[in-house]
C-alpha cells in the first residue's frame, strides 16, 4: 500500500511539468506549421525528430526529483527502497504516457501531411538507410512505410520504433536520476571534482587520450558501429543494459543515503 501511495505522489508531482512540456510542444508545432505554411517560394526541408525532446525532458525532470521527494517521503514514513522502486514505476508509467502521446502526434504528422514537408521520427532519422528495398536512402516516415510491402512489416517497423522510443525515454530518466542521486550523496568538494573538474579535464584531453590508444579505440568504435549503433536491436539492447546497470546503481546508492534536510 505504501508503494502505491509513494507512486501516486511522485506521479502527481510530475503532472504539472508534463502538461507544461506538452503545452510548449504544441505551441512549437503550431508555430512551425504556421511558418511553413507561410513560406514563400519553393523552399525544401524536413521536419525531423520532434520526439527527441521527450527523452531530454525526462532527463531534466529526473535530475530534479530525488532531493525533494526523499525529504517529503521520508517525513511521511516511506522507506528509501519503496521510494526508489516507486520512482522507477513512475518513470515507466510517464514514459508510457509520453510514448502514446508522441505516437499519436507522429501519426497525425505524417499521415495527415500536416507540415507539407516530410516528417520523420528520431528512430527513422538514425536507422533510415536500411529501410528501402533497393537500399535507397529515404528520409520520410511515410515513404519508409510505403516501401514495406506487407502489413506485418509495417507493424514490425512501427513496433520497433515504439520500443526504441520507450526504452530511450526510460534510459534518459534513469540516467538523470542516477546523476541526481550521486550528486546528493557527494560532499561539496566531491561535487566540484566529479561534475566540473573531471568533465572539463576529460573534454580538454579527449583527443590526447584517443591518440594514446588510437588502435584500441578505433577497433572498439568499429565494432560498436557495426553491431550496436547501426542495428536497432543492438541499440535497444544497449539501452536496456544501461537502464539495468544505472537503475541498480541508483537503487544501491539511494538506499544508503542519509537524509540531508535543509535547516530552516
Amino acid at each position: 500500500m505504501k508503494f502505491s501511495k509513494a507512486f501516486k505522489y511522485q506521479l502527481n508531482d510530475v503532472k504539472t511539468s508534463l502538461m507544461s512540456f506538452y503545452g510548449v510542444m504544441i505551441g512549437v508545432e503550431i508555430l512551425l506549421s504556421l511558418l511553413i505554411a507561410f513560406c514563400v517560394g519553393n523552399v525544401k526541408g524536413n521536419v525531423i525528430g520532434l520526439d527527441a525532446a521527450t527523452p531530454v525532458f525526462l532527463f531534466i525532470l529526473s535530475l530534479c526529483i530525488f532531493s525533494t521527494n526523499f525529504s517529503f517521503l521520508n517525513q511521511n514514513s516511506i522507506s528509501r527502497r519503496t521510494m526508489v522502486l516507486s520512482c522507477f514505476a513512475m518513470f515507466a508509467t510517464v514514459a508510457g504516457i509520453m510514448l502514446a502521446i508522441d505516437a499519436i502526434n507522429a501519426a497525425i504528422m505524417y499521415m495527415g501531411d500536416f507540415y507539407k514537408y516530410p516528417y520523420s521520427t528520431v528512430y527513422e532519422m538514425i536507422f533510415h538507410q536500411f529501410e528501402s528495398a533497393d537500399h535507397r536512402i529515404v528520409d520520410k516516415t511515410s515513404d519508409i512505410l510505403q516501401n514495406l510491402p506487407t502489413v506485418s512489416q509495417k507493424l514490425t517497423r512501427i513496433s520497433a520504433n515504439l520500443i526504441f522510443n520507450y526504452v530511450s525515454y526510460i534510459a534518459a530518466a534513469v540516467s538523470g536520476y542516477f546523476i541526481s542521486v550521486v550528486f546528493y550523496r557527494l560532499s561539496k568538494i566531491w561535487r566540484i571534482i566529479v561534475f566540473i573538474i573531471i568533465p572539463v579535464v576529460l573534454l580538454n584531453s579527449a583527443y590526447s587520450i584517443y591518440r594514446l590508444g588510437q588502435s584500441f579505440f578505433d577497433t572498439i568504435s568499429r565494432w560498436m558501429d557495426r553491431n550496436i549503433f547501426n542495428s536497432p536491436t543492438g541499440t535497444i539492447i544497449l539501452m536496456l543494459i544501461w537502464i539495468v546497470v544505472f537503475g541498480m546503481l541508483s537503487y544501491i546508492i539511494a538506499t544508503r543515503a542519509g537524509l540531508k534536510p535543509k535547516k530552516e
Binding site: 501511495k5 511521511n76 516511506i78 537524509l259 530552516e264
Partner: protein, 283 residues
C-alpha cells in the same frame, strides 16, 4: 498501541560519537520527555528512530520490528522535526491532503479545526510561514496523524507564550482522548515538566537517567523561606541551586527529606525538574 525499543544504539559521525551504546525502552501510552544539553544526541536519536540516518551499530524496534527501511514499522511513527522536509511551494491544505494519503488514520477534520484554533490559514503557502507558524503547521500534522507513536523534536520552536500554552493543552486533550506513545524533545524543561510522565536524559551520547518524573523529583526537594533561615538550613546539605528574591530564598536540595528537621516557617515543595536537569548534566 506501540512500544519502541532502542537497543545498543551507537551513532558515529567521523570522529564524533553522537550516541554511545544507548538502550532505552519507550513503553506504550506514555508521554516522555527526552532531555539533554545541546549536542547531547537527542535529535540524532529521533533521526535514527525515523530512518533518516543509519546507526553505526544497534537496532531500533517498533513492536519488535526493526524500523530500518521498514514501511510497516515506520508507518506507526509520526515525527515533527524542526527540519525543512516539506516542499516550500505547497500550501497547508495540500500538505494536509498528502498526509492523509500516507497516514490512513489522519483526521483531516481535526487538522482543519486546529488550523482554525491556531489561526493558520490552510491556503497559506509553506514558504510564507514564519518560524513559529511553521512549527504550528507541523504540530497540527503531528496531532492529527493519529499514529501510535508521535515524536516532537523542539515542537515549540518560535512559538509565543500563548501558542505554547495552546499546544500543551491541546496535546493533553489529544492524549487523553487517544492515548499513545509521545516523545517530546525540548529545552524548555519547566514548561514541559507538567506534561510529561517519564523522563529520559541524554548526556554526551549516553543515557544517564530514565525514570518517571515523580521518582526523579523525589530524589530531592525545594525549600523556601527567609534568606537567613534558608542559609542556616542548607549548611550541611547538597544544594543544587538557589533562587533569591529580596529577603526570600528558595534552595533546591538533593537527598531525602527529614521532615522532623525542617523549621515550621520554611515551606517544602517538589524539586524543580530544570534545576535537577542542570545538576545532572553539568560537567
Amino acid at each position: 498501541m506501540s512500544t519502541i525499543q532502542v537497543k545498543n544504539i551507537t551513532m558515529q559521525f567521523k570522529e564524533v560519537i553522537a550516541l554511545n551504546d544507548v538502550t532505552i525502552t519507550f513503553d506504550e501510552n506514555k508521554i516522555y520527555g527526552l532531555l539533554g544539553r545541546n549536542g547531547a544526541g537527542k535529535s540524532t536519536l529521533l533521526n535514527l528512530m525515523t530512518n533518516k540516518i543509519f546507526p553505526t551499530s544497534g537496532e531500533i524496534l517498533v513492536d519488535g520490528e526493526n524500523v530500518l527501511e521498514n514501511d510497516n514499522a515506520l508507518g506507526k511513527i509520526f515525527c515533527m522535526c524542526d527540519k525543512d522536509l516539506y516542499p516550500k511551494e505547497y500550501s497547508v491544505k495540500k500538505a494536509i491532503k498528502w498526509s492523509k494519503e500516507f497516514y490512513p488514520d489522519f483526521d483531516t477534520e481535526y487538522a482543519y479545526k486546529l488550523c482554525e484554533k491556531f489561526q493558520l490559514s490552510p491556503k497559506k503557502k509553506l514558504k510564507g510561514l514564519s518560524t513559529g507558524y511553521n512549527s504550528i503547521f507541523k504540530i497540527i500534522l503531528a496531532l492529527a496523524a493519529n499514529t501510535p507513536i508521535v515524536l516532537f523534536d523542539e515542537p515549540v520552536l518560535g512559538l509565543d507564550a500563548n501558542h505554547r500554552d495552546m499546544f500543551y493543552k491541546e496535546l493533553i486533550n489529544n492524549y487523553s482522548e487517544n492515548p499513545r506513545t509521545i516523545i517530546i524533545s525540548t529545552h524548555l524543561i519547566e514548561e514541559v515538566s507538567d506534561v510529561i510522565e517519564d523522563v529520559v536524559i541524554i548526556k554526551d551520547g549516553k543515557k544517564i537517567v530514565q525514570d518517571s518524573v515523580e521518582n526523579i523529583l523525589s530524589r530531592g526537594y525545594s525549600i523556601s523561606g527567609s534568606a537567613q533561615k534558608i542559609d542556616e538550613f542548607i549548611k550541611d546539605k547538597e544544594v543544587i541551586g538557589v533562587d533569591t528574591l529580596g529577603a526570600f530564598k528558595t534552595a533546591h536540595i538533593m537527598g531525602s527529606i527529614d521532615k522532623s528537621g525542617i523549621p515550621d516557617d520554611l515551606e517544602v515543595t517538589k524539586l524543580d525538574l530544570q534545576k535537577l536537569f542542570i545538576q545532572l548534566t553539568n560537567a
